[in-house]
């Protein structure tokens, strides 16, 4: 599989945690707001910036809140956002 949409492994007791890496391909964004609106953790918000398409792409408010549900990735009509889980030790 090319993509790597893992849900946060809630029930793993040990060591590692997944840290969210939210990638926003700003100039691909058409500003629909789906990702912002439907993020369960309100991780995203509209930025002030105007991109090549004349809209305000999302920006990350607080990556730490991200639960890696990938809903933003899945609902984006323009392939302008995706989330990767990066393994790291608790607290990193």
């Amino acid at each position: 599989m090319v993509a790597n949409f893992l849900r946060a492994p809630m029930n793993e007791k040990k060591v590692l945690k997944l840290k969210a890496e939210i990638h926003i391909l700003k100039d691909q964004c058409k500003g629909c707001g789906f990702c912002i609106h439907y993020c369960p953790k309100k991780v995203l918000e509209e930025s002030d910036e105007i991109n090549a398409r004349g809209v305000h792409p999302p920006r990350v408010v607080d990556e730490k809140n991200c639960i890696l549900c990938s809903f933003c990735t899945a609902v984006c009509p323009d392939f302008a956002i995706f989330v990767r889980g990066k393994q790291c030790m608790d607290g990193c």
Binding site: K30, I50, A52, R53, G54
Partner: protein
């Protein structure tokens, strides 16, 4: 006398309507001959889009534009595509916020009208094109001011006449200032 004007930008900016209103003003309210033609792509919104107007004292045979006297440009893409087409000594009116990258052009009069910003100030980005029409009128005098106002009233959705006329005036003033330096 044959004047050729091209409006260009992207779908949703009211480019085509701008051409229609200008031509209508020249023709119905201005007593000249005028024709408007257009070109757009498959996109419903956001695609490249242009609107061409020919104004003349005599009957217009060829309705398309070969060498525009005036360009009204509202997107970077439009600028890139058309800026160099303008006739020597011609006029370009552009929205600098939409066109961050300008190249050097010789022998052309360039007027920068932040129409989108002005429209935002008026509360509706959608009237940016009408702001541009105001500036166009002030800068080029190619159509009569009152004629264009009539054309605007005849073409905008019921209930938005006032807003649009205000946008027109704002553009007109802005243009006036630019010309008068």
């Amino acid at each position: 006398m044959r004047i050729e004007i091209r409006f260009a930008g992207f779908g949703g900016q009211g480019i085509i309507k701008s051409g229609i209103m200008t031509a209508m003003a020249a023709c119905i309210y201005g007593g000249k001959h005028a024709v408007q033609t257009q070109s757009y792509g498959p996109e419903s919104r956001g695609g490249a889009c242009k609107s061409e107007v020919v104004i003349s004292y005599s009957e217009i045979d060829f309705p398309k534009i070969t060498e525009p006297d005036i360009l009204v440009l509202m997107s970077q893409h439009a600028y890139n595509e058309y800026a160099e087409d303008v006739k020597k000594g011609g006029t370009i009116i552009l929205d600098p916020d939409m066109i961050p990258n300008e190249k050097k052009l010789e022998g052309v009069k360039i007027f920068r009208v932040p129409a989108t910003r002005i429209a935002e100030e008026l509360g509706r980005t959608i009237v940016a094109n009408v702001v541009m029409l105001g500036a166009l009128t002030a800068i080029t005098g190619v159509v009569d001011k009152e004629a264009l106002k009539e054309a605007i009233k005849a073409n905008v959705p019921k209930g938005t006449e006032e807003l649009n006329l205000k946008a027109f005036e704002r553009g007109y003033e802005y243009g006036k200032k630019l010309v008068e330096g």
